[in-house]
């Protein structure tokens, strides 16, 4: 264990190294590039490969290839590059390739403001690709958590053989704080299950946890990595029964691990009459406002989502008895839609603060006060 002073982007890179990253492919894009540059300097010296591909499409496909070659692989990007990775996310889902994709959010749509922050991609991270699937998504709120949740993202990816998104933003990326880095053995690291050696006749046949052991290229398994809907042999299966079985399993294997995947933090919730819900960088300001409101005599609680997808709806519902729920986020109101559904018996309000900077306490207070 050692303590360093680091930015959020550096913390993500360090978290990936701690988790066992061996292959990084990326394409430069603000404000994520420091992750790439930091790994290019450091991971290469640790025996890993870091390569700049011709675009983000190539980057995500390369890390899926690397994942199937048996290593932990990651890419990092921002909005425009993330959009280009849409089809690749789907490929990682259907081929059950554990990969981690970091999206450092910046203001959009389109080129937007490359150097400024946003939380507008929270639903894009969830439903980037076509088809039915679940892609877990983690949203750290400080430098330490950028490190911790990147490790968790790798663990989740390896546990359920699925792509996992780490969703930070320009504020977290470029913010410097103290960071505790763990040595091997000081933190849980999960590795994918492997099949016994020799040809694997049913490479997509799951164990009881619905996750099949992963045949790795080059070990004589004779596996076919198949992007078409396939049966347990990996053969194309354009039949409703096979389609249902595969797509349901791909979804259920993630949901079964909801206890492990879903994380949240609550503060002042026991007696709260108003619950403030937030996540990521914006939660930093909302945390302050919750305290401010308490000073003013308003019993405010604070719920911070660390996992943005999938959500543990029961846990969220049980986190507070507050009659009023106010969702504060740096977009026009996206996670609000989930909270409105989950807290359907309460008054739920959206308090968006659309800002290119970290929302200030004054801005958040004004947005919240409207609903008090």
């Amino acid at each position: 264990m050692k303590k360093v002073f680091a930015s959020g982007n550096m913390a993500v890179a360090e978290g990936a190294i701690t988790a066992g990253l061996k292959f990084y492919a990326g394409y430069p894009i603000t404000p994520s590039s420091e992750i790439f540059e930091y790994l290019a300097e450091k991971l290469s010296k640790l025996g890993g490969i870091v390569i700049q591909m011709e675009d983000e499409i190539a980057s995500i496909n390369a890390i899926i290839g690397a994942s199937w070659a048996g290593v932990k692989a990651m890419t990092a990007t921002s909005g425009p590059g993330f959009s280009l990775m849409a089809e690749g996310i789907g490929l990682a889902v259907i081929t059950e390739a554990p990969i981690v994709v970091v999206n450092v959010m910046r203001a959009g749509p389109s080129t937007g403001v490359p150097t400024k922050t946003s939380q507008s991609d929270v639903l894009q991270a969830r439903w980037l690709s076509h088809g039915d699937y679940i892609v877990p998504c983690y949203a750290p709120w400080n430098v330490q958590e950028a490190y911790d949740l990147t490790i968790k993202a790798f663990n989740t990816a390896e546990l359920v053989r699925n792509p996992v998104v780490v969703l930070t933003d320009q504020v977290i990326a470029h913010m410097w704080e103290s960071l505790t880095i763990y040595e091997p053995g000081e933190v849980e690291i999960i590795n994918r299950k492997l099949p016994p050696p020799g040809p694997t006749a049913y490479p997509y046949k799951p164990d009881d946890d619905l996750v099949p052991p992963m045949p790795i290229f080059g070990r004589g398994h004779k596996v076919i990595v198949e992007s078409l809907i396939h049966d347990e042999r990996g053969f194309y299966a354009p039949r409703t029964e096979d389609y249902r079985e595969l797509v349901k399993r791909l979804t259920l294997k993630v949901l079964r691990r909801l206890d492990y995947i879903y994380e949240q933090e609550t503060k002042f919730c026991e007696d709260a009459e108003v619950l403030l819900v937030s996540y990521g960088s914006t939660a930093r300001t909302v945390n302050v406002i919750a305290k401010e409101l308490r000073k003013k005599g308003i019993k405010a609680g604070f719920l911070r989502l660390k996992t943005l997808w999938p959500l543990d709806e029961n846990k969220i519902r049980r986190s507070s008895k507050a009659k009023k729920v106010i969702v504060v986020e740096n977009n026009l109101g996206k996670i609000y839609m989930d909270m409105d559904r989950i807290f359907k018996d309460r008054e739920v309000y959206s308090a968006p603060v659309l800002s290119l900077e970290l929302p200030t306490p004054q801005e958040v207070m004004e947005a919240v006060e409207v609903w008090l």
């Binding site: 496909n61 290839g65 070659a69 690749g88 080059g218 076919i224 990595v225 992007s227």
Partner: protein, 279 residues
């Protein structure tokens, strides 16, 4: 663990997933001829002890040719349209012991995947890329391809293709590839010879195989009969022993030049990345 039992009738069956035969290919399609030639080259390498089939990955995108991944008895990946090269690059960089064979059609490799083709060749990335050219998007029903000659009527150019076609051999030769060759399904011995040679090389190896598609392309150009189309292609194919890259013509009127255009032994991407100590 289930035991894998494969019936064997043909001597090359040991390299195939025979349980998936017959292939999906239409009567008269050239892809089967090319696959046969690849398997014979693989057989020679295996018998010589210069190829470990456990290290081979057969990577394809989407299209008729891409479905060739269904058949070889090696690790395979049937990935996204155009992205086979990017996928293969990640796999080989992550495990340099792997030998990546990327096989795709002209739409897959030169159309949607054109950017990856360019950059993999520029890097001299370690892989064999085989492009089977049938001048059309066949699996989707006969749309214009980047290789379709000007003037040809396709389903998306019903008034005639207004665009000039791409010469992929010239494109790849202009970059850093270690090997650039073209053969035709009318000359399967050259496909076998070039593929055999490519299997023993390092760096980026590109082989274009000109093929016949009587079912879709033949319909567009009035050569619906498989044999007739094969013979018409055969007439146009001109083998040259040491052709220059300027001679690399691929033109239905002027002729299709086959041969080995580029052959060199430049350090590959892996050689440079690992400073010659890889493997």
């Amino acid at each position: 663990m289930a035991v894998v039992v494969k019936p064997q009738i043909h001597p090359l069956d040991k390299y195939l997933r025979t349980e998936r035969l017959p292939t999906i290919y239409c009567p008269g399609c050239g892809i089967g001829i090319a696959l046969g030639a690849f398997m014979r080259a693989i057989d020679r390498r295996v018998n010589e002890g210069t190829l470990d089939l456990n290290k081979v990955i057969w990577v394809t995108g989407i299209g008729c040719t891409a479905r060739s991944v269904f058949y070889p008895w090696v690790d395979g990946a049937h990935v996204l349209h155009g992205r086979a090269i990017a996928f293969a690059m990640g796999a080989v960089l992550a495990n340099p012991e792997l030998l990546a064979i990327v096989v795709g059609g002209d739409g897959d490799i030169a159309g949607i995947g054109g950017n990856h083709l360019i950059h993999a060749a520029r890097r001299n990335a370690d892989m064999i890329v085989v492009m089977i050219t049938n001048f059309v998007y066949a699996m989707t029903g006969g749309q214009v391809a980047p290789t379709t000659p000007i003037g040809v009527r396709t389903t998306t150019t019903p008034h005639g293709n207004p665009e000039y076609p791409m010469n992929a051999v010239k494109l790849v030769a202009s970059l850093n590839a270690n090997y650039v060759a073209r053969a035709s399904v009318t000359t399967p011995h050259y496909i076998e010879q070039y593929f055999y040679k490519a299997l023993g090389m390092r760096g980026f190896r590109f082989i274009e195989v000109v093929s016949t598609c009587p079912e879709i392309y033949g319909r567009h150009i009035g050569l619906r009969d498989p044999l007739e189309m094969f013979l018409e292609l055969k007439k146009r194919v001109k083998y040259k022993p040491r052709p220059s890259i300027e001679e690399a013509e691929i033109d239905w009127e002027k002729g299709i030049v086959i041969g080995e255009f580029i052959e060199r032994n430049n350090p590959s991407l892996l050689d440079i990345l690992f400073k010659g100590v890889s493997k």
